[in-house]
Structures are given as structure tokens and as C-alpha cells.
């Protein structure tokens, strides 16, 4: 495929960008504001400041941002705000990377290099900048698609006299194959997930980890996050278990208790009605 030529989007300053960002960061109509020790303003502005390196991300209390973000998510309703939420999620997930890194038990389980990598500030800047560039260029995609949707192309039924000149149809589908095709067509499309075992680090199913966590918590005794990840040998499993907890939290199946930032995280089973069928769709957002 062709390589797009280099360099015109000025990402370090949204106002000068060759492609205007979808919303001006200064007056983004977003309802979510971050208010922490060093910073008070819309979430997008936080991102913008970080990209300008005017604010050191490590000086922003991530737990405070996370708390605000989660409470903001709780208020979100309706499809209109889903986009907004997913946009926040992208940035929040990047910010959360560091929080997850600090949640990971220090010691033999975690590769020290990995933590160093996750903590590398510049890498975070790089990712935010990169994300920002794609976010900006996506506005161009939206505009072009909208403009092109309004166009009308000539696309008419072939005249009968030409129709008759088509090669005769070769039908090779048996009745059973036809029914199988119907079944295929009616089945919601799933992404193929073949060959994942070949991966150096096999993918971890959030759903499976959720099932594991549910099994541990359902008996009633609250457990700490540290206890929940005891015995997990791969970082991926730890992360998946953390995400599974967030998912369960979203379904109001668990509640969290953390007395101080970065303190021990206690998880309590809080589901009033729980059926294991709930697990089926769990992690669907992650395609697991």
C-alpha cells in the first residue's frame, strides 16, 4: 500500500494544526473536568497541556484523575455520550497504564524493565501525541465520508438485452450448503481468533479471569487485589484480572474499597442478582 507523504500536522499546537482538531481544546464542550492539585480544567485540555509538555503527567495524581473519571462515567447516559466516553477512555487508559504499573506487585512477578518502560514519561508523551495526531486526522475522515455520502453515482439495473449476454450461471451450491450459508449470514459476525496460541505471550481472556474472580469472591469474604492475583504468573493475567474487576464493577457485581491512593485495594462481592450467564457478555468490549 502507498505510503502517505510526511509531515504537515502540527500536533504540538492544536490551534496551528493543518487539520483543525474536531473541537478546540480550549472550549471543548465536554462535561468532564479534572480538578486535582496542579490542574483544573477539561480533560482534553489536560491532554493538550501534556502534549505541550507544560504539565508533567507524573505530577498529576493519577488516582485522583481516575476517581474523577470513574464518577464521571457513572453519570453518563444515552448513546449520544458514548462517543464522548470512549474518547475519554482512550486517554484515561493511557493514564491508567501507569496506575496499573503501580498496582502490580513489585518483586519477582514483574519484570523490572517492563515497569521502567511503563513509567517512561517520554513514552507516554509519545503515545499521547500519536493518539492526538490520529484523532485529528479522523476529523478529515469524518468530513470526507459525510461529503461523499451526499454524492450520487450512476448505478442502475443492467438493461435486459445485456443481461441475456451474461455467461450462464453455474450453480454449485447444495441444499445443505445453502442452509449453512444462511446460518453463517444470520450469525453475528465474530472476529476470527485463530492462532493466538502461537503468540509469545498468549492472550488472556477477561471472561475467564472474571469467572475466576467471581469464584473467589462469591463466597462472601472480601479479598484484597493482592490476594486475587496471588499465583498469577503472567503480567497479562494480572492485567486481565484487573480489567475483569472493572467489568464486574460496571455490572455492580463488586465494590471497591481503597482507603488511600495506592493503598491496599479491597474487593467485595456486591451483586444482588447474579447468574453466570452474565459472564457470557463480560469483556465483550475487549472482544474476548
Amino acid at each position: 500500500m502507498a505510503t502517505p507523504p510526511d509531515a504537515t500536522i502540527e500536533v504540538t499546537d492544536g490551534a496551528d494544526a493543518a487539520l483543525a482538531p474536531p473541537t478546540d481544546v480550549a472550549d471543548a464542550p465536554s462535561g468532564f473536568r479534572v480538578s486535582v492539585a496542579d490542574f483544573d480544567g477539561p480533560f482534553d485540555l489536560l491532554l493538550s497541556l501534556i502534549t505541550k509538555r507544560e504539565l508533567d503527567i507524573t505530577e498529576v495524581s493519577l488516582s485522583a484523575v481516575t476517581d474523577e473519571f470513574i464518577s464521571y462515567l457513572r453519570q453518563l447516559e444515552g448513546a449520544d455520550r458514548l462517543d464522548e466516553a470512549s474518547e475519554f477512555l482512550v486517554v484515561a487508559a493511557t493514564l491508567l497504564d501507569l496506575k496499573i504499573a503501580s498496582l502490580l506487585p513489585q518483586g519477582e512477578l514483574v519484570d523490572a524493565e517492563d515497569v521502567a518502560l511503563l513509567e517512561a514519561r517520554d513514552l507516554l508523551f509519545a503515545r499521547l501525541l500519536q493518539y492526538r495526531a490520529f484523532k485529528q486526522v479522523s476529523a478529515w475522515f469524518a468530513e470526507r465520508i459525510a461529503a461523499e455520502t451526499a454524492r450520487h453515482v450512476r448505478s442502475v439495473r443492467l438493461e435486459d438485452r445485456f443481461r441475456q449476454k451474461e455467461p450462464e450461471l453455474r450453480w454449485t451450491t447444495s441444499l445443505d450448503d445453502f442452509a449453512a450459508l444462511a446460518l453463517l449470514a444470520f450469525t453475528p459476525r465474530e472476529l476470527p481468533s485463530v492462532g493466538l496460541d502461537h503468540l509469545h505471550a498468549p492472550l488472556v481472556s477477561i471472561r475467564e479471569q472474571a469467572a475466576h474472580v467471581v469464584g473467589l469472591l462469591r463466597s462472601g469474604e472480601p479479598l484484597t487485589f493482592r490476594q486475587l492475583i496471588a499465583g498469577a504468573e503472567q503480567k497479562g493475567v494480572v492485567v486481565a484480572r484487573f480489567l475483569a474487576l472493572l467489568e464486574l464493577y460496571r455490572h455492580a457485581a463488586v465494590s471497591f474499597e481503597q482507603l488511600e491512593p495506592l493503598g491496599e485495594l479491597t474487593v467485595r462481592w456486591s451483586a444482588e442478582h447474579w447468574s453466570d450467564e452474565n459472564l457470557v457478555n463480560l469483556g465483550a468490549d475487549y472482544g474476548q
Binding site: 438485452r161 442452509a179 444470520f186
Partner: protein, 214 residues
């Protein structure tokens, strides 16, 4: 010169079209609006229908169509400007006007169609056909939403192949509903749709119109 507005420099029927035109954007020549419509419609269009679409008197539309016919046929314009005889023509068929390939060029187009059309149905076409077979009569939009892809061109192919046909048009929505034909039964080697193997929904996830799949 390439004028910015859609004025008809060579093909103005006469001087009458210089007044502002009702029902059309400013500066849009009636003939240009008509040829735009005729380029995208599938069915022959009556003069009356066209007239109401562009908000102009039937008489004017009729004159403009006659002028377009002459234009595409390569007759010189009223002012004597020569015009090419186009590869397409505007013909009145069954009480309506539609653009067709000029018959002298049939051979060229026939060869083109012959080499372009595969003898076998594509996977996409087969799946769309299967959806229609099991959920007929069904509109194109409903098929598209089940298949999660645009099926316009595939439906055209299936219509052309005689495997499906138009069952009826919903009087409220105007959506054409399609059903399968005897030809499909013949190809499948069955006598009636009842002989289609039952398919059970893999996932009864409450998707609209999914539970009534036979």
C-alpha cells in the same frame, strides 16, 4: 468556457429558460437537472413525475426532454453548434424516459458485460440470497442490516440472475420487498420453500427479526 453555474451554453432550447427557475436552485438549468436525475434512476420516469420533481410545468419539461434527446443524438444545437452523437441515448419506454446505451454500441457493451460477469455467484451474493430465501419477503435495507454490509449491487446481481424478484412495495415506506423465484428452487433441487432445511439460531440474542428465522 467552463462556467461556474450550470448554464446550458450550447444546448439552450431557445431563449425562454433565462428566467429564474422555480423548484430548482438558482442558476440551475432545467435540462441539467433533468439529466442529473435521469443518470441515477433505475426506472423510466414519466414527464409528469419529472415535472413535479423539479417544480416546473409539464410542457417545459417535455420540451427540455426533447432537446436532451436531440442533444444526445448529436443533432446540432439551435444556434448551429455541432454536438457529438453520444454513446448513450434518452428513450421513452413504457410511458417513461430513461437513459440507455445507444443501440449501435450494444456489441461493445455486450462484450464488456460478458467478460465482466462471473459465471458463479460470489460468496456475498450466496449469503444474501440465503438471507432472502429464509426471511422473504424482505426489503433490501433489512438484508443489509442482517449482513452488516451494503447489498445494493448484490441484490441487483440476484435480480439479474432471476434468482429473486420483487414481491411488493411497502405502501408506507416505499421499500421494495424481495422474494426468491422458482429458479432458485430448481437450482436447489427442491419443490417448495418448505423443503429448505431448518436453521436454528446460534445465538438468540434478541436481534431484531431474528427469532422468526425458520
Amino acid at each position: 468556457m467552463a462556467s461556474e453555474t450550470l448554464t446550458d451554453t450550447a444546448a439552450a432550447p431557445d431563449g425562454t429558460d433565462t428566467t429564474p427557475e422555480r423548484g430548482l436552485p438558482d442558476g440551475v438549468e432545467l435540462a441539467r437537472a433533468l439529466e442529473a436525475i435521469l443518470m441515477v434512476v433505475d426506472e423510466p420516469q414519466s414527464v409528469v413525475g419529472l415535472a413535479s420533481a423539479v417544480g416546473r410545468p409539464v410542457k417545459e419539461v417535455r420540451a427540455s426532454i426533447a432537446e436532451l434527446v436531440a442533444d444526445y443524438d448529436g443533432e446540432p444545437a439551435a444556434d448551429g453548434t455541432p454536438r457529438p452523437r453520444r454513446g448513450f441515448e434518452l428513450r421513452e419506454v413504457g410511458g417513461g424516459w430513461r437513459i440507455y446505451v445507444r443501440s449501435e454500441l450494444d456489441a461493445v457493451v455486450r462484450d464488456f458485460v460478458h467478460t465482466q460477469t462471473p459465471a458463479k455467484l460470489s460468496q456475498a451474493a450466496l449469503e444474501t440470497l440465503a438471507v432472502i430465501a429464509y426471511k422473504q419477503p424482505i426489503s433490501r435495507g433489512a438484508v443489509a442490516s442482517i449482513r452488516a454490509v451494503n447489498v445494493d449491487s448484490v441484490v441487483r446481481t440476484l435480480l439479474g440472475r432471476g434468482l429473486i424478484t420483487e414481491a411488493y412495495t411497502d405502501s408506507e415506506t416505499g421499500a421494495i420487498h424481495y422474494e426468491t423465484t422458482e429458479l432458485l428452487l430448481t437450482q436447489l433441487g427442491i419443490n417448495s420453500l418448505d423443503e429448505l432445511p431448518p436453521i436454528s439460531p446460534l445465538l438468540d440474542d434478541g436481534r431484531d427479526g431474528f427469532d422468526d428465522v425458520r
